[in-house]
């Protein structure tokens, strides 16, 4: 009986078994397969960046420089940052889950431009190869920020290949963002109006807007740094009257919004997961949707908060400070709405939900400490200390990666047709949460006490907190390895997932798992709002 069921299941044609062989993957136009190509690439980069992080934490176990010298340490934190931000975080959710889910969620057969989608993966891979070339032929030491004039004239490391890599990866994300915007505008299923869209789609729409408007600016800026190095000219060179501060303006014009490229898709996932495992309609749907756009637009007006001590005018700094406070409002709107969704919900703690709840807590801490940094006076005190390091890791790791893991677990049954081992996954989620807090909370304290970032030695009185942080990093490493192992295991031995193991709403759950190549047997017709879960808002009963 059992084998019969299995055989029947295997006979059903879906995007994974429709054809086999390396060619069918490398030349695929199917958004779902391209998502998996991306999943492989970014997972590799994530673990590479993670190794650098572990070496950094190991070096900081003691106050003295035991394992590496100053120069190597500079390269370690640079490559950790470059790989994690450009090669992992920015593509992570959009290129993997977004790629897989955007057409499914809006009832389309594919993205608008499948060939451009595949091209984006090749461009990403080429960029990653440049990045790896830089890493394995001596590394780069400018910090992920590539500040001129150090990057343009002083550094003797592999700046140009790293920049070429980041430049190419930028174009791959432009292709992805462009594809999403066109697809969401033009290819929604009949009846799927804008305010019936899942919040995951709203988040990806807003993210794509940021990608389209921001990425070209970082591309030209980094391009100029490379040109300046290669041709020995001086666009940012103070010797000619060039202005390195201009580089910082251009760099942060993209790189602040880039934080939202990382966190907005994650917020989209949280909206889906919270409402599903509360079995309750999301609270304040339109506020969450519009707040994504508000973040996308306001996010472009606050970059100066990275330059409070760089010598910009105090009036500019004042404005940037005020606007940075303002950009916290739409984020807070989301947090309040998620919490209100939980209220009187019928909550169950499946692994995606554990990650999502972790996200809410950690993102709140990351966001509130962001307000500390937006305050002009306080920022001067904690600028370039571990306080900043802790803050952005709470956003990018505690926020973006927690959301990414929530999403990977939530849609794993849809992607692979298999269930992951639930108990193990819950334990892993708790390990990640505990390991994360142990790693980064002490860094808030360290920074407040005055430990600067980017040094490989430190005064002995900081050791206890650093030991805590390193211990936490080890636990966090285990927490990240576990999903890697059991998710791989589940590919073969996981229980079969039905079309809708979570009893979730949304078009992606109405098609078999894994979905057929063109996603739906017939184009679905949408007749109701999203999140039609049984429980309504609290006031109604």
């Amino acid at each position: 009986m059992d084998t019969q069921v299995t055989n029947e299941h295997d006979r059903q044609e879906h995007y994974l078994n429709v054809d086999y062989g390396i060619r069918s993957w490398l030349l695929t136009r199917d958004h779902k397969r391209i998502a998996l190509l991306y999943l492989g690439s970014i997972t590799f980069m994530f673990f590479l960046g993670g190794i650098f992080a572990l070496v950094i934490r190991l070096e900081l176990l003691t106050p003295a420089g035991d394992i590496v010298g100053a120069d190597t340490y500079n390269k370690l934190f640079t490559m950790h940052g470059v790989i994690m931000i450009f090669f992992f975080l920015i593509p992570s959710i959009p290129a993997v889950l977004g790629n897989f889910l955007v057409p499914l969620m809006i009832g389309a057969r594919d993205l608008a431009f499948p060939r451009i989608n595949l091209a984006s993966w090749y461009i990403y891979s080429l960029g990653a190869l440049f990045g790896l070339w830089a890493v394995f032929t001596g590394g780069v030491d400018t910090g992920w920020t590539f500040y001129a004039p150090y990057s343009t004239t002083a550094s003797y490391t592999k700046v140009v290949p790293t920049i070429v890599g980041a430049f190419l990866v930028g174009f791959s994300s432009i292709f992805t963002g462009l594809n999403f915007i066109v697809t969401i505008h033009r290819m929604r299923a009949p009846g799927l109006t804008w305010f019936r869209l899942p919040l995951f789609i709203w988040a990806h729409y807003a993210t794509s807007v940021i990608i389209i408007l921001g990425t070209p600016v970082i591309a030209i800026t980094l391009g100029l740094v490379a040109v300046e190095r290669v041709f020995r000219i001086g666009i940012f060179d103070p010797a000619l009257g060039g202005d390195p501060i201009l580089f910082q303006h251009l760099f942060w014009f993209y790189s602040h919004p880039a934080v939202y490229i990382m966190i907005l898709p994650s917020m989209g996932i949280i909206s889906e997961v919270i409402t599903c495992f509360s079995r309750k309609r999301i609270f304040g749907y339109s506020f969450i949707a519009v707040s994504s756009l508000a973040i996308a637009l306001l996010g472009f007006l606050v970059w100066g908060h990275h330059m409070f001590v760089s010598g910009q005018s105090v009036y500019a700094a004042l404005i940037f400070s005020v606007l940075s406070f303002a950009v916290a409002i739409p984020s807070a709107v989301k947090v309040f709405n998620w919490t209100a969704t939980l209220y009187k919900g019928s909550i169950s703690f499946e692994a995606p939900m554990v990650y999502a709840l972790g996200f809410i807590g950690l993102f709140t801490i990351g966001g509130l400490t962001g307000l500390f940094l937006a305050a002009l006076g306080l920022d001067v005190h904690v600028h370039d200390t571990y306080f900043v390091v802790a803050h952005f890791h709470y956003i990018m790791v505690g926020g973006a990666i927690m959301g990414y893991l929530a999403g990977i677990h939530f849609w794993w049954p849809k992607i692979t047709g298999r269930l992951y081992p639930e108990t193990l996954a819950r334990i892993a989620a708790l390990i990640v949460f505990l390991g994360f807090n142990l790693t980064f909370f002490p860094q808030f304290v360290l920074g407040y006490l005055g430990m600067p970032r980017r040094y490989y030695v430190y005064p002995p009185e900081f050791q206890v907190l650093n030991v805590m942080s390193t211990a936490g990093a080890t636990i966090l490493g285990v927490g990240y390895l576990l999903p890697m192992l059991y998710l791989t295991w589940s590919l073969r031995w996981g229980a079969r997932a039905g079309a809708n193991p979570w009893r979730a709403t949304g078009l992606e759950w109405q098609t078999p798992s894994p979905p057929p190549t063109y996603n739906f047997a017939t184009t679905p017709l949408v007749t109701e709002e999203p999140y039609a879960y049984p429980l309504r808002e609290a006031r109604e009963y």
Binding site: A108, R186, L213, V217, I233, G234, H249
Partner: protein
């Protein structure tokens, strides 16, 4: 008049949806291009405000005659491109191919003239770098002007080269009868791109060649 039936790609419902999607995609691409050039325009503005005399001095070292000729050529090529798109829409096959080829010729002429201009700059030592010829109090800042000049015009020229290459492909497709009133999206999108590159030059020309009242 040859109008080939064009197959709608699997992800679209009909030809209209496909056309709308492609057009929106092209406009979004042009938005990214505006921001791509935008970084350079910002640098131009910042440095020109800081060093107005050096920018005027640098501008006077540019070849106004060649710049003007190139401007006329490029505007002309935009006209032939627009006529080409029109020819595709009304299904005039030979005219379409002819206008596309004319656009290629004009675009190439622009690039050749630009090449002569660059060559002259090399001869006169006006290329930024260790061998920059101009000394004197304004020297370094004039060098900065030339950094911006070369960055902007070279980026523009790269876009021209890509444009001419894609035009050649489209002209080849057109000569095989790929386009007609029912399907001319690639010609139309190429037109958008070409006009964009033209408009960038319309900004570059006065900003680089015509400042300082000459």
């Amino acid at each position: 008049m040859a109008t080939t039936e064009h197959v709608v790609a699997h992800q679209f419902d009909d030809a209209e949806q496909q056309h709308e999607a492609s057009t929106l995609g092209m406009w979004l691409f042009l938005v990214t291009e505006i921001l791509f050039f935008g970084g350079l325009f910002l640098l131009y503005v910042a440095y020109r405000v800081t060093y107005p005399e050096a920018f005027v001095d640098g501008s006077h070292h540019l070849d106004l005659r060649l710049g003007t000729i190139n401007t006329v050529i490029l505007i002309g090529s935009s006209l032939t491109m627009a006529l080409g798109v029109h020819a595709a829409q009304v299904g005039r096959q030979r005219a379409l191919v002819g206008f596309l080829l004319l656009t290629i010729v004009l675009g190439s002429a622009f690039l050749v003239i630009k090449g002569f201009e660059y060559a002259a700059k090399f001869e006169h030592g006006l290329v930024p770098g260790p061998g920059f010829a101009l000394t004197g109090p304004l020297g370094p800042q004039v060098e900065l002007f030339f950094c911006i000049y070369f960055a902007m015009t070279a980026l523009h020229a790269i876009h021209m080269v890509i444009g001419v290459g894609v035009l050649a492909v489209i002209a080849m497709m057109a000569s095989r009868g790929a386009f007609g009133p029912a399907y001319f999206t690639p010609v139309e999108l190429m037109g958008l791109y070409w006009h964009f590159v033209d408009v960038v030059w319309i900004f570059l020309f006065p900003l680089l060649y015509l400042i300082g009242g000459r």
